[in-house]
């Protein structure tokens, strides 16, 4: 996106091959399936997930009208799975608009016919953050945590304190807080707050 000026230039420079023919008397049709057709750079083709940029936040899943993007949690294996199915996609490009990291990349691809449905599916698996304290996986991914760390204004937050807490489950967070408060203030908090989840 750094070259946004030249992008406009690129748009200006692009010309449709067929346009010249339409003026002439010659046939205006093209032997289409036997030749490649180039789509203009503005064309909204099927999007593509860039796994390097994706953090697994699921913003695209919320925006997608036809459920072409689906998010699944596999807590057992510690995996969050983002599935994109081009067969359901209506190419509205809402996912591209809402993606906070630019991981949803627009393409000008439009021919998605294939012999196998699996060719239409893109899957990105993210490792879920793991809570050392209680041995459980969190709802969000490691990358999400990294991403949040990067965008939080450092002047406001005490990064070291955050570092400790971020990778904890809600339960563990509460427990840690209570423990800390106990240590610091000697206040008696009800014991059930300290009980580990599996203990009862």
């Amino acid at each position: 996106m750094a070259e946004s000026v030249s992008y406009t230039e690129k748009l200006k420079a692009w010309n449709r091959k067929e346009v010249e023919k339409i003026g002439e008397k010659a046939p205006v049709t093209t032997p289409y399936p036997f030749i490649d057709i180039e789509k203009p750079p503005e064309y909204r083709g099927i999007p593509h997930i860039n796994p390097e940029k994706c953090v697994g936040c699921g913003a695209c899943v919320n925006a997608c009208p036809p459920d072409a993007l689906i998010m699944e949690w596999d807590k057992e294996h510690g995996v969050k799975r983002l599935t994109y199915n081009a067969a359901r996609c209506i190419r509205c490009a809402r996912c591209i608009e809402v993606c906070p990291t630019g991981a949803m990349e627009p393409t000008t691809r439009f021919e998605i016919a294939t012999n196998s449905k699996e060719d239409l599916v893109e899957v990105v698996e993210h490792r879920l953050a793991y809570c050392e304290e209680c041995g459980e996986y969190l709802d969000f991914t490691e990358r999400q945590i990294e991403y949040v760390k990067n965008i939080l204004p450092k002047e406001i937050f005490d990064m070291y304190a955050l570092e400790d807490r971020m990778k904890l489950t809600q339960d563990a967070k509460m427990r840690v807080t209570v423990e800390k408060l106990r240590e610091l203030e000697g206040v008696e908090y009800p014991a059930y707050l300290l009980a580990k989840r599996g203990d009862e």
């Binding site: 339409i22 789509k39 503005e42 909204r44 925006a63 009208p65 209506i90 190419r91 490009a93 608009e97």
Partner: protein, 598 residues
């Protein structure tokens, strides 16, 4: 939220009035805003429970269900408002909110042609108790209500008392009795079945049935016309449709957020998709009371007109194809192609532009594109002129189109026929100028004429459309010229709950109407779509009667029918005085039984 000049006067609202004697000043204000409202109020004083302005130019009256026919006909037959018509009606399951069902005819009142500040919409809402959802039918006196009353009967289980033909319209034959898909207690995934059973009429004495459809070359989509013929002459017609129902309204109400519905709305029709998209966006913007930026209005109008241009070219191609004039077909589509290429570059797709978002548009029109647009406009104008010159000088083509499929003005008005079909029969209606489109589109700021022809035949429909095409080209040029700068969208946060409003555009087939009622959590509680073909199709039998079988495809094509948009809710049949339905099996049986034309 900033309010532009025309919004200021919309401030006051008359909320619920006591029955019969609403003497608050607000009511007087509301009633004096438009011509005819006071008159109506005086006439039906005892039956009006509530009246309020939904938004600019949309007035809701809550009335007793007993006076529904009188009230509807009062507007429809008003001697001064000549082109007033009943656009459609909405049935809603409001048991979750009000504990009642509601049925609401929507009336497009035309005080003065092409004056969007004097014309208005009247919504006549009648509540019905949950245990007795019935209302007196108006269909016997007003054919425009025939389909919609049967639709609410099928989908919501209402009982139109005195309906001349209370048979199944929308639901398929294998749908069980007593299951009403649009009631809120039915899940949108539920799909019950039963053994198919149908009712259909015997052909008139001495005729043969020619089944046109459900699959027929002359009809692009599944629809079933049964022509009762004597020799080649059509004696009577029978229609069975709604084969391509997709349950869009139910999905829109069940699952999606208001911005997701927009994309579904765009996919109601493959041809006038943007019209539906704008209509829906307009409805939501009206109920949220948001003004969209001027630039967005202009871009919307530009895209709407480009869509109209290529759709009219598409249609004239189809019409030529219907009479075997394939050269005209190919050339019309050749002329059309540059528009498709242009919109592909402007929006990112040839069709289903995906340009809209509630509150504005998603893509800006880059300034250097203006030249390109003007170039295409020029090309189209020249190409179309040349094409018309050839087509209208092809003797065989004119011979087929002239004096065929005549739709008289009276029938056009009775069925509320819309768009070019109506204008070819002398009705002076065009939702672009007649109703307040200025909140979502910029038609009030451009100059154009609405062509009207009196002949009412297929040729007149061709000519109306072609005149309109040239007007559209002229509109596009003006829009490019006047395009203001600024933002292209305003964000909309939370929608008000249980607010309702109408959105409408004039598609190339006629007025598209969307009614939206919001629910909780930014969802849509009730979404009603009325595609123009829904009103035009019932008039087809009247156009067909007395002409040849050979003319049938051309006459049917001449209203530019779009079955899928019409059938966003499930199964139809047209009435011609009597109505009937037919299944696949019976259709096969029939074609075997009725052998020999001569």
């Amino acid at each position: 939220m900033s309010k532009s000049a025309f919004e200021v006067e919309v401030e006051c609202e008359c909320e619920a009035c006591e029955k019969g004697k609403c003497d608050s000043a607000d009511l007087v204000d509301v009633l004096s805003e438009r011509e005819g409202l006071k008159e109506f109020y005086e006439e039906f004083k005892d039956s009006i429970h509530e009246c309020r302005r939904l938004t600019y130019g949309q007035y809701l009256f809550v009335i007793d269900r007993d006076v529904l026919p009188e009230a509807t006909l009062w507007w429809h037959n008003h001697p001064r408002f000549k082109e007033t018509h009943m656009s459609t009606a909405v049935g809603t399951d409001e048991r979750a909110i009000a504990g009642k069902f509601s049925y609401m005819p929507l009336i497009n009142v035309q005080v003065e042609a092409e004056n969007m500040d004097r014309n208005f919409w009247v919504l006549l809402k009648a509540y019905m108790p949950a245990d007795d959802p019935s209302f007196p039918s108006v269909a016997a006196k007003l054919p425009a209500a025939l389909w919609i009353e049967r639709e609410v009967k099928d989908l919501l289980g209402f009982r139109p008392i005195g309906h001349p033909d209370p048979r199944r319209l929308i639901l398929p034959e294998d749908w069980p009795e007593g299951v009403y898909p649009l009631r809120k207690d039915m899940d949108y995934r539920h799909s019950p079945m039963r053994e198919p059973e149908t009712e259909f009429r015997e052909p008139p004495e001495g005729t043969t049935t020619v089944p046109m459809g459900p699959f027929h070359m002359g009809i692009e989509e599944p629809a079933h016309f049964r022509l009762f013929v004597k020799g080649e002459e059509i004696v009577d017609v029978d229609y069975r449709g709604f084969y391509s129902h997709r349950g869009i309204e139910k999905v829109g109400e069940g699952r999606l957020t208001y911005n997701q519905v927009l994309f579904l709305a765009e996919r109601i029709c493959g041809i006038c998709g943007y019209q539906h998209s704008v209509s829906y966006a307009m409805a939501v913007e009206r109920l949220a009371d948001v003004d969209i930026p001027d630039r967005a209005r202009y871009i919307r109008t530009l895209m709407l007109e480009l869509e109209r241009i290529h759709n009219h070219l598409l249609w004239v191609g189809i019409a030529a194809h219907m009479v075997g004039f394939d050269t005209g077909f190919m050339h019309a589509w050749r002329i059309r192609e540059p528009v498709m290429w242009l919109v592909e570059r402007l929006t990112g797709n040839r069709k289903q532009y995906g340009m809209n978002i509630v509150g504005g548009v998603r893509r800006d029109i880059l300034d250097y594109r203006k030249e390109e647009i003007l170039k295409v406009v020029k090309e189209i104008r020249e190409g179309t002129k040349k094409f018309l010159d050839i087509a209208l000088n092809t003797n065989t083509f004119i011979k087929r189109a002239e004096g065929v499929g005549i739709l008289p003005y009276k029938i056009a008005k009775a069925y509320s026929v819309l768009g070019p079909t109506a204008r070819a029969s002398g009705r002076r209606i065009d939702a672009r100028l007649d109703q307040a489109t200025k909140t979502a589109m910029a038609y009030n700021e451009v100059d154009f004429k609405v062509p009207v022809y009196k002949e009412g035949d297929v040729l007149a429909r061709v000519l109306v459309r072609m005149d309109e095409l040239f007007e559209s080209l002229w509109i596009v040029e003006q829009l490019i010229d006047q395009m203001p700068g600024g933002d292209i969208m305003v964000p909309i946060g939370k929608l008000p709950e249980y607010a309702e409003a109408l959105g409408f555009t004039e598609a190339h087939r006629g007025e598209v109407l969307h009614y939206v009622m919001t629910g909780e959590k930014n969802k849509v509680y009730r979404w009603k779509v009325r595609a123009p073909t829904y009103n035009n199709l019932p008039a087809i039998p009247d156009m067909l009667r007395g002409y040849n079988v050979a003319d049938a495809p051309l006459i049917i094509a001449s209203i530019d029918p779009c079955y899928s948009c019409t059938e966003r809710v499930q199964f139809v049949d047209v009435r011609t005085g009597r109505v009937r339905v037919l299944t696949e099996a019976e259709f096969n049986e029939l074609s075997i039984k009725n052998r020999g034309v001569f």
